[in-house]
């Protein structure tokens, strides 16, 4: 099996997103996007940097950023480590390392303008664009301010205007994109007095860097930082000491940021496609189970009802029979009684006739009635 899991997920991602959004498919594929051909970049030669902070001053002025608290001439700023912030797109830091003989080493830091930027792939309004001029630029007019780009950036570059209530922006170096469009150099590159910064085609810069390393192997370590880190960046660095001692992380890996989430995004169409089918299936099964249960139940009920009906019928018959019998006896009795009464009446009548014949009138009745009325 030559296919790695990541690659497989990457394919799934490409297939999935390709199906849903078409043109952004490349962002989720694991195809190595090398950036625009001929796109420019900047090479920072850390060995040549003298820590004068001219680049910081130039950046501040060309980007019309607010004036700093301490003047750019004040080099005591270098005594503490600084990072980019909402008012500062670039900072120079001083390092003293054992392997460098404790001599001061100055390192400039700013947005690396990744070939496949994490920030751009993370933004859910697509506020970042990697332009063919190499710059990763930000569109303030759509930004929601979720700050996921800041979570995503492996170089911890984007910053936020936390003190603005209504119009906070993400702030980061633009590689002086507006100046590039005018054919000018980025502010920092233009002003650097020691040529520690070189602007040019990224391909050419890589060659220059290799050449310097080859010519002076005692001054440079054999590594170009940014050549492959997370898919490569437009800014490249060479130095005389290991980069991890200069505040640059060497554990970022080679996987470009979009590939890290491609698998998860690729699962979307699978879930959307499979879940409803599966769930409906489960529903059908459970319904069927229910139905069978219900049928069994109703059969049982029907049986029970039928059985009880039979019982009831038998009972009824018995009752009816009994009733019939009772009725019969009742009738018989009634008839007997009637006959008896009739016979009695006849006898009485016969007796009466005999008494009348004897001419003796009855006396008790008329007397007893008034007494009853009184009481």
């Amino acid at each position: 099996m030559a296919i790695s899991r990541r690659k497989f997920l990457g394919w799934m991602g490409a297939a999935g997103l390709g199906a849903t959004v078409g043109k952004s498919a490349h962002a989720a594929s694991n195809k190595h996007f090398e950036g625009y051909p001929d796109s420019p970049g900047v090479l920072h030669d850390i060995v040549r940097c003298v820590g004068c902070r001219s680049c910081e001053a130039a950046c501040n002025s060309v980007n019309q950023l607010p004036p700093p608290e301490q003047s750019f001439k004040d080099l005591t700023v270098l005594d503490r480590k600084r990072r980019t912030d909402a008012k500062t797109y670039t900072v120079v830091n001083r390092f003293e390392t054992e392997s460098g003989g404790n001599a001061p080493i100055f390192v400039k830091n700013q947005c690396n303008h990744c070939l496949e930027p994490a920030c751009a792939s993370a933004c859910f309004v697509h506020a970042f664009t990697k332009t063919k001029e190499g710059a990763v630029i930000y569109d303030e007019s759509v930004c929601v301010g979720c700050r996921y780009c800041m979570i995503a950036c492996p170089f911890e570059i984007p910053t936020y205007e936390y003190d603005k209530a209504l119009t906070p922006r993400v702030m980061k170096c633009t590689l002086c994109h507006p100046r590039l469009l005018e054919g000018k150099l980025p502010g920092c590159v233009e002003v650097c007095p020691t040529e520690a910064l070189t602007f040019g085609r990224r391909e050419d810069l890589l060659n220059i860097a290799r050449e310097r390393i080859r010519r002076q192997p005692d001054r440079y370590i054999d590594q170009i930082y940014g050549e492959n880190e997370m898919g490569g960046t437009s800014w490249l660095y060479i130095a005389g000491t290991p980069f991890r001692e200069l505040g640059k992380r060497e554990d970022l890996g080679l996987t470009p940021a979009p590939a890290l989430t491609a698998g998860a995004l690729g699962a979307v169409p699978i879930v959307v496609g499979l879940w409803p089918v599966l769930l409906t299936g489960i529903y059908a099964v459970s319904q069927r189970k229910d139905k069978i249960a219900r049928e069994e139940q109703s059969e049982a009920i029907a049986d029970a009802v039928a059985a009880s009906k039979e019982d009831a019928a038998a009972e009824l018959k018995k009752v009816l029979a009994m009733k019939e019998k009772e009725k019969e006896t009742a009738i018989n009795m009634a008839v007997k009684k009637a006959l008896e009464e009739a016979a009695k009446a006849q006898e009485e009548e016969a007796a009466k006739a005999q008494e009348e014949e004897a001419a003796e009138p009855p006396q008790d009745d008329p007397e007893s009635k008034p007494t009853e009325e009184d009481s």
Partner: protein
């Protein structure tokens, strides 16, 4: 708030109401501060720590704990476990409230909240996991609203509309499960893009799976936990069916949660093995990781299992609290504790008291609205007019 009066039958100044009122007051004041002074005025967020408590707790924990809605309705309507029926409505209500509050809380956290619809109406960033989260949460909130709407419709007496919604139950449930699967897991996937910032013990390419599975556990445990609370405070509102089925719900979800917790523990180990992160266990971070894994995954797993075996309702109910706390711990570990683990302690984040106050404020609103609804609408009992409808 008007609802505080009606429910306590008389005095407005119960201790609960006073505390809630105080929180609301403080929250209101901080709200003003937040929208006049910016995030910087009320939070400890920084350029290194762009996400704080409002994402870690309000979003991540909030969404996980609101999973009871889809879990319960799926159990009842899709898996056909009818004995969960009386638990569906309260779970849907908490789900709906939970998601509504998550979205509400996001308005505090993002820089320009009025632009929250931009990703969908202005310019979609489809390569972003956050886009998926946003889209699914927005859609799911709508689904939950429709599912929940049967209760107010019955309350208001709109029979026809209510019956229409009931007819849609199955479709809504399936839709809810699909959307929940997607966004529960993609909340974990949010962190996939930052392997260099999240400690390796918590970072894994399985993060989406972890988040999804643990959301089911969270949902079940929340249903049990919240049922316990409701029994305590709204017992008089429950009908016979609810009371009769309550123990069955506890046992059923307790058992399922025990299995899931065990499975979750196993896939966490698989994640460790795949990335070969065992050596990290011997560090301080490893100790903290073990606290989470043993104390808040294995322990509730065991207690749930014993509880269901012995049919010990009380034990299961107590365990649900441990499980819920475990979810809280896990989400906070990933978003705050183990995130930026490489930074010196001076650059690490700890929430500002006002961030905590706003989170409390939002939880309080949730509790008050819940109380308002269950004391009025047919949530814990069935509406007498619709009893035969199931």
């Amino acid at each position: 708030m008007s609802d505080t009066k009606a429910t306590t039958g008389g005095s407005l100044f119960t201790p609960f109401n006073m505390v809630a009122g105080l929180i609301l007051l403080v929250g209101g004041a901080i709200t003003v501060l937040r929208f006049t002074g910016g995030l910087g005025a009320v939070t400890n967020l920084s350029d290194y720590n762009p996400w704080g408590l409002w994402i870690g707790f309000d979003l991540l924990v909030g969404v996980a704990l609101a999973a009871g809605g889809y879990v319960t309705s799926a159990a009842c309507y899709i898996f056909g476990l009818k004995r969960f029926h009386s638990a569906v409505r309260p779970a849907i209500l908490t789900g709906f409230l939970g998601y509504a509050l998550v979205v509400f809380a996001l308005h505090y956290d993002v820089g320009r909240p009025w632009r929250l619809p931009y990703p969908f109406i202005v310019q979609p960033g489809t390569t972003s996991v956050l886009f998926e989260v946003g889209a699914c949460v927005a859609l799911y909130l709508t689904v939950l609203f429709v599912e929940y709407s049967t209760a107010p419709l019955e309350w208001l007496g709109f029979k026809r509309a209510r019956n229409l919604v009931v007819k849609l139950t199955l479709v809504l449930t399936i839709f809810g499960v699909v959307l929940s699967t997607l966004h529960q897991s993609s909340l974990g996937a949010l962190y996939l893009i930052a392997p260099s910032k999240l400690h390796p013990l918590w970072y894994s390419s399985y993060l989406p799976v972890y988040f999804f599975i643990s959301s089911i556990i969270a949902g079940m445990s929340m249903v049990i936990f919240e049922g316990t609370m409701s029994h305590k405070y709204f017992h008089d509102k429950m009908d016979e069916a609810h009371l009769k089925e309550a123990d069955g719900v506890v046992l059923g979800f307790g058992k399922a949660a025990a299995f899931l917790l065990f499975g979750y523990f196993v896939i966490k180990l698989v994640g460790l093995a795949v990335d070969n992160n065992w050596h990290h266990l011997a560090t301080g971070w490893g100790l903290w990781f073990l606290v989470e894994m043993l104390g808040f995954v294995l322990l509730p797993c065991y207690l749930y299992a014993v509880g269901t075996r012995d049919k010990n309702i009380k034990m299961i109910r107590r365990t649900s609290l441990i499980a819920v706390l475990g979810i809280v711990l896990n989400r906070l570990n990933i978003s705050l504790v183990a995130f930026n683990y490489h930074l010196p302690s001076s650059e690490r984040y700890f929430p500002h008291w006002m961030e905590i106050a706003i989170s409390l404020f939002i939880v309080t609103i949730g509790v008050l609205v819940f109380r308002f609804v269950v004391t009025r609408m047919p949530i814990l009992y069935e509406h007498p007019d619709y009893k035969d409808a199931h």
